[in-house]
């Protein structure tokens, strides 16, 4: 049976997210309760979370979360890691026995800083250096898979229902100012932990419900710029598109969103000359980055949280705010279960992204 990456596995699913705009950290219990409500939106073949602000003590190190299928895969990967990074800490990620989660791989994490000498030789900045190392590990090291590689953040995912995965990783013990979650409904049995969402690169994390019809157009576009889409999932391509537009081309998150979910020409033709020039340029230069087909995506990063829907709004995504908190979920019920009286509730509209910036106080 083909593994993730050799075959494209389309899937429907549930997504949720909670953010505290002032950066006040709160336990994972809230997000688990929210995603748990949408139990029927997934089929137990994938669940996962991303949490931002969970490693304040290692805030300036990269926190690599890695799955190993075998002992030699671990040794081979660790050799590469120690060679390219100064690893401060190497430890398994604490987990708890949960009946529905079985045959877990070896799950470890490393706090590391890039080896200055090698970085300079490669002529790359820290982020590009790290990203290339992660892409190389995942592409070339059979049995090793870096499933998150950001600073002061981490992804926690497995094959199972999301609430069981939360319990398995004991996320109630972690404190974060931004949580995203995902429950998967793949149409066949992947049985591989790496395939669950969120999908990450550096401190980007994406949970995504839906399927993009423009996948291969986007993939063959992004692969021009050093990325390798070896997981064949839509989520992977969207992550790389954001990383490329924001990091390589230095575009703001909302500009990147204007590219992925660009408005239609009918609307653009009616806009003011400046706006028309802006969107026409975007759509002509970045036409292949337009994401077509039904999707709702939540992008977590250290800058904040971005929620976008496809232009035709063929997938549900509800948003709500209360005080400093902002909530997102595939269903309004999953918001109300954790915040019964939100000040404002609305459905995210097609091609009108919602960006919730993080205002971290100085010391964070």
């Amino acid at each position: 049976m083909l593994k993730e990456g050799q075959v494209r596995i389309p899937s429907g699913c549930a997504i949720a997210a909670v953010i505290d705009t002032t950066g006040e950290r709160f336990s994972g219990e809230t997000i688990i309760r929210s995603i748990a409500l949408m139990h029927d939106r997934s089929n137990g073949l994938g669940g996962g979370f991303a949490a931002y602000g969970i490693y304040p003590e290692h805030a300036d190190s990269y926190a690599f979360h890695v799955f190993f299928d075998s002992e030699e895969a671990r040794q081979q990967c660790e050799a590469f890691l120690f060679d390219h990074f100064n690893v401060d800490v190497s430890e398994p990620i604490p987990t708890k026995k949960v009946p529905s989660i079985t045959d877990a791989p070896d799950i470890r994490r490393y706090f590391a800083k890039p080896n200055k000498v090698r970085m300079r030789e490669a002529g790359l900045d820290e982020a590009e250096y790290t990203a290339r190392c992660v892409i190389r590990i995942n592409a070339e090291f059979e049995g090793a898979f870096v499933f998150s590689s950001g600073k002061n953040m981490g992804a926690f995912k497995a094959v199972g229902y999301p609430e069981d995965v939360g319990e398995f990783y004991m996320l109630d013990r972690y404190k974060a100012y931004l949580w995203t979650a995902h429950g998967r409904f793949p149409t066949n049995t992947p049985g591989w932990w790496g395939g669950a969402h969120p999908f990450t690169l550096l401190d980007w994390s994406i949970v995504h419900n839906g399927e993009i019809s423009s996948y291969d157009a986007n993939r063959r576009y992004i692969e021009q710029f050093g990325y390798k889409c070896n997981l064949q999932t839509d989520t992977e391509v969207i992550t790389y598109l954001f990383d490329h537009l924001c990091r390589h081309h230095g575009l703001d998150l909302d500009v990147a969103a204007d590219i992925l979910a660009a408005p239609e020409w009918d609307e653009i033709d009616e806009m003011s000359p400046d706006q028309r020039a802006y969107f026409t340029a975007l759509r002509t230069v970045y036409g292949s980055a337009l994401v077509n087909g039904p999707f709702s995506v939540i992008l977590g990063s250290n800058r904040g949280l971005l929620a976008i829907n496809d232009r035709l709004k063929l997938r549900s995504l509800t948003a709500a705010t209360k005080g400093n908190r902002a909530y997102f979920a595939s269903e309004e019920s999953a918001i109300r279960v954790v915040c019964p009286d939100p000040e404002r509730v609305w459905a995210v509209s097609g091609s009108d992204p919602v960006f919730i910036p993080l205002h971290l106080s100085k010391e964070d």
């Binding site: 494209r8 389309p10 899937s11 429907g12 149409t187 839906g210 399927e211 993009i212 019809s213 423009s214 996948y215 291969d216 157009a217 986007n218 063959r220 576009y221 692969e223 021009q224 710029f225 390589h248 081309h249 230095g250 575009l251 500009v255 204007d258 239609e264 020409w265 009918d266 400046d274 706006q275 020039a277 802006y278 026409t280 340029a281 975007l282 759509r283 002509t284 230069v285 970045y286 036409g287 292949s288 337009l290 994401v291 077509n292 087909g293 039904p294 232009r311 035709l312 063929l314």
Partner: protein
Amino acid sequence: MMRYFQPEFHIVRDPARCIHCGCCVRQCANECHYFDEDGKTVLCRDESCVSCQRCVCLCPTGALRIEKFKSDYRESAVWTQQVQKEICRQASTGGTLLSAMGNPKPYPIYWDHMLLNASQVTNPSIDPLREPMEIRTFLGRKPDRLSFTKDKKLLTEMPPQIKLETPILFSAMSFGSISLNAHRALSAAAKELGTLFNTGEGGLHPDLHDMGQYAVVQVASGRFGVHKDYLNNSAFIEIKIGQGAKPGIGGHLPGEKVNVEVSNARMIPVGSDAISPAPHHDIYSIEDLRQLIWSLKEVTEGKKPVCVKIAAVHNCAAIVSGVARAGADIIAIDGFRGGTGAAPTRIRDNVGIPIELALASADQRLRDEGIRSRVSLLAAGPTRNAADVVKAIALGADAVYIASAALIAIGCHMCQTCNTGRCNWGIATQREDLTRRLNPEIAKERLVNLVTAWNHEIKEMLGGMGINSLDSLRGNRLMLRGIGLTEKELSVLGIRHAGE
């Protein structure tokens, strides 16, 4: 002179239906129909018939039918009648066999070996009746990145972009090879459709000066009709390096088609054979091409994108990459089935490769080198219907050229004898009594109908795939599956086999 072989076609006249109105007599430029002495009874002779179907279409009582001339040679898979006939003709003329249109040989047509995807369940089709289906296409060089002010005002200076309302353009057919009325129809149709027509290597006729903004003006090796105003009075400029029907050789417009109008537009003497040499005698290497591209941009003050049209030949992927790096904004690849007004039969039937393979490998090569997004790719030869258009775009083309299809829309019946200049439908001729048969108003309406119909079909196929913008179809090879193709063909096309 003795005739060594039999005619190609046989005219069948049904005596029970023929009312001897003489319409066919007056309409056949090859004089296959003629009156008996009584001036009333209509007779016919086969040897000059090219089966252009003019008489069949116009006969008010449907009394006429054209058949292949049936006189069976002894069966031989090697020495077919066609092979023998060609030898006989050359034995009597001693000259190169000339013919027209695209390669008719039964080489595989890969469009017919690729199937399109459709959404089921996991992602819904998009209903073209409810959602706007976007087929707007921009051609031209794209900057690598864009920069904006905080409040999203564009800072980057965008190079000139050609905005088209459809991914279909009319390809090069020179004034001279086809009639002025045909050019009038093509330009008017292009204007109404929001697309462009191509002057071909014959220059732009003064009457069409105002239509220059809807014209792709061609610069060919003969430099016919090329001057400063011609270059500036255009949508974009196309350097013609090659043509799918006759890769490696130049253009050939038989002298009898060069009347005073054609000679004015081309700035050549009346009646002289218009030979545009191959190669351009100022482009012997890629750097020369870069200089020509540069000088064309200079003369148009950088306001016009420059396209380079090459024939689909063996290493066209590398050529495309080189041309892109030489400064071309748009690159057109013309497959070996692309049409032509006149070409040596041998070259038309044996030189060049299918557009599908050329386009697929060129697109992939540009992506491997990370420069695909900088340039626009145009594919042509043949584009027979809307499915071919969708498949070309899925393989990676930005847009497609159509020419033969356009000719058929306005009356051409592919008799493949444009080189004779006696086109009974008034298209590939300069004879005043024949060009009159193409009413530019009717032709324009038929061209607009054709492309509008194809636009609808493209939108329907897009909707079926769950895509509502061409941008998401461009290069989206997952939308294609091969059928009846070898592993190698699948890998060159970069698509999986159906069922995978």
